[in-house]
């Protein structure tokens, strides 16, 4: 027997099966950390409007939550094992960012958290993820688009991470300790996501006729939702004015410059496709979403809603 296999009773927690033998009740929600921000200084800096901070954190958290779910839909479906693992890892990073951001939103202003049935053990971030309706989500519409082929996943991750990284590079200087810490960590993760997608973008563009045509089609498909990422919602304007957040319009130039580097390396022209308009001027940040989000949430939220008091 290899010497790293422990058999003594004291080491039973090293066994993956040890938990099955004891009364080890875990919530069906979260990962048994009652509060992902436990011990973090969550006091609201002076001069910061708590509802604005909460609304802003929700926007950033919803972007990554919805995007994470879409990317996670690739799990077991990617063209090869390495990319399956890569996409799952990217989805996990984004989910982790969401958890912290939704918890931050709840901590700043608990009135954003939906009421749950009595006795539900769901922590606030899970209540926000699983018990809000589509119109209450504040993600950009870009994040919710139904998945296409692998070229589409490449373009999706590229555009999303180019934009989010540009915003988060500045968010590191947020006057809110939590947002700043989340951004410092998130920047490291997003850098890997952006490089991964950018390399695949160049590879597919310079690959076969088939891979290039699929890539160009995917770019044309997603491009109409790209400008929306840089629109300034009043909440973002207020958050930026108080030093808590970043006005996405101010990072457009930086983001476009990075994207141009990728397009140039791939020899792909900028698409000439008009932006998708909002509905009566309202877009994702206003809670105006496509049917795709409702369908996605119906699946994502079904277990939590069927068992709001669930434990395992």
């Amino acid at each position: 027997m290899p010497d790293h296999v422990h058999t003594s009773a004291e080491d039973e927690h090293d066994s993956a099966y040890a938990g099955l033998l004891v009364n080890d009740a875990h919530w069906a929600f979260g990962t048994d950390f009652e509060d992902p921000l436990a011990g973090v200084d969550t006091t609201i800096p002076e001069g910061i409007d708590a509802p604005t901070l909460a609304a802003y954190a929700l926007m950033l958290g919803d972007d990554s939550l919805v995007m994470s779910h879409r990317i996670a839909e690739w799990t077991s479906n990617a063209p090869d094992l390495e990319d399956d693992i890569a996409l799952s890892n990217i989805a996990l990073d984004l989910l982790g960012q969401s958890r912290l951001l939704l918890a931050r939103a709840a901590k700043a202003d608990d009135s954003v958290v939906p009421a749950l049935p009595e006795g539900s053990p769901a922590p606030p971030e899970d209540a926000l993820a699983f018990f809000r309706e589509a119109h209450e989500f504040r993600n950009v519409r870009f994040a919710e688009v139904v998945n296409g082929d692998f070229a589409e996943a490449t373009v999706r991750v590229l555009l999303f991470s180019v934009w989010r990284l540009a915003v988060w590079e500045r968010l590191r200087a947020s006057t809110d300790h939590v947002l700043s810490a989340v951004a410092v960590k998130g920047v490291k993760e997003l850098t890997y996501h952006r490089d991964y997608a950018a390399r695949w973008f160049v590879t597919l563009a310079q690959g076969t006729e088939e891979s290039r045509s699929r890539l160009l089609a995917a770019l044309d498909e997603l491009w109409p939702l790209w400008p929306e990422l840089f629109d300034t919602h009043p909440v973002e304007a207020a958050a930026a004015a108080s030093g808590v957040g970043v006005d996405p319009a101010t990072v457009r130039e930086a983001a476009e410059a990075v994207l141009d580097q990728v397009l140039t390396a791939a020899d792909v022209p900028r698409p000439e496709v008009a932006r998708r308009s909002g509905v009566l001027g309202r877009t994702g940040r206003d809670g105006m979403h496509g049917e795709a989000l409702s369908r996605m949430l119906a699946e994502m939220q079904s277990v939590a809603r069927a068992h709001p008091r669930g434990q395992w």
């Binding site: 048994d32 990073d93 982790g96 300790h177 700043s180 850098t191 490089d195 390399r199």
Partner: protein, 146 residues
């Protein structure tokens, strides 16, 4: 044996009273699913050591970096067949786009050959990349620099 302290995950231990201890840990990645297991292990070990009240807190700032992995931790990783990380890249200012595969000097943890190639920047956990040794042909994990 790789400890939480060797990994740089254990940030602070504060013995508040005779039987009360407060421990700070930091996640490696935002979505690190091992946080709850680490917390459970800490609570179990500290209770066994006589602390009735064990508080485990999450510390987000400063963000974890692979530079915090101790020399003992690096040796333990290598002994377990995992290639330890090089120096973490600077994350101040604008982050440059890297279109070419990350160039690292990675030696095979099995046969110590410098002839290795990157398979994927993403591995079995968020913190690892997949490599392959072109000498002994064994695949192995490399802990990514962050």
């Amino acid at each position: 044996m790789l400890t939480l302290a060797d990994l740089g995950v254990l940030r602070d231990v504060d013995v508040v009273g005779d039987s009360h201890v407060v421990v700070d840990i930091t996640p490696t990645y935002s979505g690190c699913p091992a946080m709850a297991a680490m917390r459970d292990d800490l609570v179990r070990e500290l209770q066994a050591a006589g602390f009735d009240r064990v508080e485990v807190r999450v510390s987000l700032h400063p963000a974890w970096t692979t530079d915090w992995i101790t020399p003992a931790g690096r040796a333990a990783l290598l002994a377990a067949g995992i290639s330890p990380p090089g120096p973490a890249p600077s994350t101040h200012g604008p982050i440059p786009l890297t279109l070419l595969p990350t160039a690292r000097q990675v030696r095979c943890p099995q046969c110590d050959s410098p002839a290795t190639e990157l398979v994927s920047e993403f591995g079995s956990t968020s913190c690892k990349a997949q490599y392959r040794c072109t000498t002994c042909l064994e695949p192995f994990d490399h802990l990514k620099e962050i």
